[in-house]
């Protein structure tokens, strides 16, 4: 009797504590399950049932395991069984089907529970949905491996320039180990000439003025050589919008820079070679022309004079006189031929100035090709330095040769002038023109090259049936008179101020 009363009392206490437990368990923010000494589950709290969307009856026993993802079921049960046999606590992760049919990652922590008399009573477990955390971890891991294995150098940089985190590629680009980089800052590894530009951009990022910047810059490699990179640096704002960190992406472009530099060197060398070639050619032409004109034609002229005198002094034989006359004519023609030859090579009329040289050239051109050449002068041609005269004359020769060969025009207008501080030559025809881009072999390259040597440029306008317009412009030194004008103007300004 005493025994039964005690027992009832105990049951009542137990019942009361169990009711209290279930009340607490059902309002807990975690899912809770319990099992008995027979291993099978005897209880699931409301959050669990709400999660799975199943009734308590369905979950009891081993019913709950139907909701575990088939791939996770074995390990899930194994972990439980092994722990159960040893009465040990366990943790397991598995995917459990939610009421909407989707599987969620569950973290389940089970501990053995004991009766008040210390006897084993089964297990109690708490389970939480950690899908979100798991995804975040995966993202972080993915990001970490992207960061680490990226072929682009990457770094997290604090707003004072210290490297906070660097990846393998950056270490390789700069030649330092990760540990070495983390004790220094980007400023100390940046080429001194590039530091100001980088710092001023970085400051704008850290003060929020710009979100990112892109820069070609140089670092100094640990071994002392220069590394060219493209840097993209972007702000990493915190939740309040303050920028304490920046992300730097660094790509090594040293190889490209080297190739570019080599190309530039080659190009400069080629241009200077081309320039030298033209200069040498001009010198040689001048020399030949001078020799022809200064010496050979003079000597031939002398021969004419001597033949004349000889004939005047000749008495008797008319046949000898006729022969002498023929020789004299022949020699006279030789002088003319030689002059024409030297005329082609170099224009002896140069000595009489550009205007005269061009007029004479145009006159000869018209006679030779039957194309009317109209010459228009503008401004004071004497301001044009000799080297520029020479370049313009060669351009004129080339352009006129194109007119004769290709245009089919019956007239051409040549404008030669000085406008401001520029010498200008324009050759305009109304011939058949050509498609721009199809003009290879028209000597345009050599014309451009000649002009480039004296700092000038050339513009060609042409289209089929619309004629051709070639314009060469060369800057020339400011004549003395306008210098004086300039001084005068300054003087006037000063007097206005006083």
């Amino acid at each position: 009797m005493m025994q039964r009363t005690k027992r009832r009392k105990t049951d009542a206490v137990l019942g009361e504590s169990e009711v209290r437990f279930r009340l607490v368990a059902d309002t807990a923010p975690v899912m809770i399950w319990m099992s008995g000494t027979d291993r099978v589950c005897s209880y699931f709290n409301r959050p669990w049932l709400e999660f799975t969307g199943r009734a308590l009856q369905e979950e009891l026993g081993n019913g709950w395991s139907k909701g575990v993802h088939p791939n996770d079921l074995n390990s899930c049960l194994d972990t439980y069984t092994r722990a159960f046999d040893r009465r040990e606590a366990f943790e397991r992760e598995y995917r459990l089907r939610r009421h909407d049919g989707g599987y969620r990652w569950i973290f389940d922590h089970g501990v053995p529970r004991f009766n008040s008399d210390g006897s084993f009573a089964g297990y109690i477990g708490t389970a939480v949905d950690l899908t979100e955390r798991k995804l975040a971890e995966e993202n972080q891991e993915r990001f970490r491996s992207v960061f680490e294995y990226s072929a682009v150098g990457m770094a997290l940089v604090s707003n004072d320039g210290r490297w906070i985190q660097v990846n393998r590629a950056l270490c390789e680009i700069l030649g330092y180990s990760e540990q070495e980089l983390l004790t220094t800052n980007f400023q100390s590894l940046t080429h001194p000439d590039d530091l100001d530009a980088d710092l001023s951009c970085a400051q704008k990022v850290f003060t929020g003025l710009i979100r990112f910047y892109h820069l070609e810059k140089r670092y100094i490699h640990k071994q002392g050589h220069v590394v060219w990179v493209t840097l993209t640096a972007s702000a990493v704002p915190d939740a309040t919008g303050r920028v304490s960190y920046g992300v730097a992406q660094v790509q090594d472009i040293t190889a490209r820079k080297n190739v570019e530099a080599a190309l530039r060197r080659d190009q400069e060398e080629l241009q200077s070679l081309a320039g030298r070639l033209i200069t040498v050619q001009e010198e040689e032409r001048k020399r030949i022309a001078r020799d022809l004109h200064d010496d050979l034609s003079q000597r031939l002229a002398l021969l004419c004079v001597d033949l004349d005198i000889l004939r005047q002094n000749l008495v008797g034989s008319t046949e000898a006189a006729r022969e002498l006359e023929r020789m004299r004519r022949e020699t006279d023609e030789l002088v003319g031929d030689m002059r024409r030859l030297s005329h082609n090579e170099h224009h002896p009329q140069w000595d009489l100035g550009l205007q005269h040289g061009v007029a004479s050239f145009c006159h000869d051109f018209s006679r030779k090709h039957g194309i009317a050449a109209k010459l228009v002068h503008e401004g004071d041609l004497k301001q044009i330095p000799e080297t520029v005269c020479f370049a313009l004359f060669r351009v004129l020769q080339e352009a006129m040769s194109n007119v004769a060969k290709h245009s089919g025009a019956d007239r051409v207008t040549i404008t030669l002038g000085v406008q401001g501080h520029q010498a200008l030559l324009r050759v305009t025809d109304e011939g058949r023109g050509f498609e721009i881009g199809s003009e290879r072999g028209l000597g345009l390259i050599s014309m451009r090259e000649r002009l480039r040597l004296v700092g000038g440029t050339m513009r060609v306008n042409s289209s089929p049936l619309q004629g051709t317009d070639v314009e060469a412009v060369v800057p020339i030194p400011i004549p003395l008179s306008s210098n004086i004008l300039g001084i005068g103007r300054t003087g006037r300004n000063t007097s206005h101020e006083t």
């Binding site: 003079q298 002229a301 002398l302 003319g336 009329q349």
Partner: protein, 128 residues
């Protein structure tokens, strides 16, 4: 009294030939090899007539002629050249030349040209 002449010609053999053609009828008071010397010698020796090669270093023939005219020099000027170019002849006459003789015809034309010029007329070689 023979008229006084000055010769400016940069080719030595040509200079000698001109002198030899003229020394019988004229007094060749100086012969020079370039334009600047021609201007100076003319101012110094005051010839009646100057024979000017068109192409000379430093100052060419037309330059010399312009300077002499600008200085008010009264000497007559006869240009000599191997060129028969009409533009060149026009430029020489415009610069103050009184005559233009092609060098190939000096044997027949030079003395008549000088005579004509000294008589106040002009002369251009007929082969141009």
């Amino acid at each position: 009294m023979k008229p006084k002449l000055l010769i400016a010609e940069n080719h030595p053999a040509m200079r000698a030939k001109v002198a030899s053609l003229l020394q019988r009828d004229f007094e060749v008071i100086a012969s020079v090899a370039e334009g600047l010397a021609a201007v100076e010698a003319t101012s110094q020796f005051l010839p009646d007539l100057v024979i000017l090669d068109v192409s000379m270093p430093v100052l060419d023939g037309p330059d010399v002629a312009r300077r002499l005219k600008a200085q008010g020099c009264g000497a007559k000027i006869v240009f000599i050249s191997v060129s028969k170019d009409a533009n060149q002849i026009a430029a020489c006459l415009a610069a103050g030349g009184d005559a233009y003789v092609t060098k190939m015809r000096m044997g027949s034309d030079l003395i008549p040209a000088i005579t004509e010029v000294l008589a106040g007329r002009g002369f251009v070689s007929p082969d141009v």
